[in-house]
């Protein structure tokens, strides 16, 4: 893993004296403390589908720890957009990108996907339910402060995902969909 420290060096000339001011604008920020220390990692649980049954299957991943929940939540969704490492099925169309994720004070995570999330989705009740709750559960399960998830597409609120599941309202988690 390569770690970059971005240094912005600002030269300020005051008279004949020369001062050098260094600013660190490093990401991820935990690295800034010391370049020798290993960045902290955090285990998260993502939910994928299995060819075997109609449930969501947990898969553990590691992400870098960030100071804010919003950043970690964003990383979590980005991880979920990647393929399963256990040979499970992805519940999200492969071209889908995460455009933005933000949190409200009341614990609602707004997750804004690119249009592929909708246009490349196969539609159908069973598929829509699992797609939605894989995202919702992956967020609420890992972050206590996230209570509900609202899904946006290309920055806008949509009526349904593929003609069935209502996207006009935030979702509460559905842990009954998780395989036992």
């Amino acid at each position: 893993m390569l770690l970059f420290i971005v240094l912005i060096i600002v030269y300020i000339r005051i008279g004949r004296k020369e001062k050098i001011k260094q600013e660190q604008v490093s990401l991820p920020p935990e690295i800034a403390q010391s370049s020798e220390e290993q960045p902290e990692k955090k285990k998260i649980v993502l939910f994928y589908l299995s060819e075997k049954d109609a449930f969501l299957h947990p898969e553990v991943r590691e992400i870098y720890a960030y100071p804010s929940v919003a950043q970690e939540a964003k990383k979590t969704v980005e991880e979920l957009l990647k393929e399963s490492q256990n040979g499970n099925l992805s519940p999200i169309p492969p071209q889908t990108k995460l455009r933005e994720l933000f949190l409200t004070r009341k614990g609602v995570a707004y997750v804004d996907f690119s249009k592929d999330f909708q246009v490349s989705h196969p539609s159908g009740s069973a598929a829509e339910i699992l797609t939605i709750y894989s995202v919702v559960n992956s967020l609420t399960y890992n972050f206590k402060s996230i209570k509900k998830v609202f899904i946006l597409i290309e920055g806008a609120e949509k009526e349904t995902l593929g003609g069935h599941v209502n996207l006009n309202k935030p979702f509460l988690p559905q842990y009954s969909l998780i395989a036992k």
Binding site: S123, A126, A127, T160, G162, N166, F171
Partner: protein
């Protein structure tokens, strides 16, 4: 039957006047030693009453009212063939489209109901046209639907997903309670009054948005009856009844379910879904579930 015991030692002479009521079958008096008993026979078992008396002259006033549930009799059924027009829904490997499966099943179901029951049946669409989900709900509520059945064909990421399942609406627990209360406050009479006005679209939508909350229990029963028949008749894998936040069910002001007949994403089921025999079987199964539900619904 209602018995009212009136303690009186005053001798009374009973006079009868003819009356006509759809609610009261008959009433009669009997005298015992120091009381008078009024017997009111009522058509329905589910009613409530209130009474008070006035002296000089002695007057007994009995207020009988039919319980709200009792007036629920199924007259109008709305069948909603899922998708349509540009919005084709799920698609099978052999090219079958959800919208083209849901329509013939719905038409067959309508025909079976009309052949066997004296009920009015409406379809939200009877041809291949686009129809917004809000319009489907509006059609149901404006036609005073007593039952709403949305017909769909399922799709999954898994190739081997199979079987039928029947859904009713899921709501947040907190939402549900709040909405139910709000709905009860806006009694259904008021709901009907309010939706008359043309400029009150917004109020209409708000009221309709919470409409299904009051019917969740009946909706789950309806789902169960339909699912049972689908399992029996189709011998498909039983996926059971489920709850999901489906847009089309949210605003419907009567028991409402969404039936996922079989999986278009499963090539074996896709082939079946395209045959008329299978479509007819499905329509028959849903019909039987309906009949069982209506029977129970009327008796409660």
């Amino acid at each position: 039957m209602l018995l009212v015991n009136i303690n009186t030692k005053v001798p009374v002479r009973i006079q009868r006047r003819p009356f006509e009521s759809r609610f009261i079958e008959s009433f009669s008096w009997t005298k015992s030693q120091d009381s008078l008993i009024l017997i009111v026979k009522v058509e329905h078992s589910d009613f409530s009453f209130d009474y008070f008396n006035m002296e000089d002259p002695l007057q007994l006033i009995v207020d009988l009212s039919q319980s709200k549930e009792e007036s629920r009799e199924v007259r109008n059924i709305i069948i909603d063939p899922g998708h349509g027009g540009l919005e084709s829904g799920a698609r099978g490997k052999f090219g079958a489209q959800e919208k083209d499966i849901t329509l013939p099943i719905s038409l067959k179901l309508k025909a079976i109901i009309e052949r066997n029951l004296a009920l009015r049946v409406f379809l939200t669409r009877d041809k291949d046209v686009s129809m917004s989900l809000d319009n489907r709900v509006a059609m149901a509520n404006n036609n005073k639907a007593d039952l709403f059945i949305s017909i769909h064909a399922n799709s999954s990421f898994r190739k081997n997903a199979m079987g039928s399942e029947t859904f009713f609406l899921s709501m947040d627990a907190t939402d549900e309670e709040a909405r139910r209360l709000a709905y009860l406050e806006n009694s259904s009479d008021e709901l009907e009054d309010r939706i008359e006005g043309e400029n009150e679209d917004e109020i209409k939508m708000i009221l309709w948005d919470m409409a299904q909350a009051a019917y969740l229990q009946q909706s789950s029963q309806l789902a169960e009856y339909i699912q049972r028949e689908l399992n029996l008749l189709l011998s498909t894998h039983n996926r059971g009844i489920k709850q999901a936040p489906f847009k089309v069910l949210t605003g419907v002001a009567c028991p409402a379910v969404l039936v996922e007949v079989a999986f278009l994403s499963n090539p074996v089921e896709e082939k079946k879904l395209l045959t008329e025999t299978f479509q007819t079987k499905v329509a028959q199964a849903i019909y039987r579930g309906l009949v069982n539900f209506i029977r129970l619904y009327g008796q409660e």
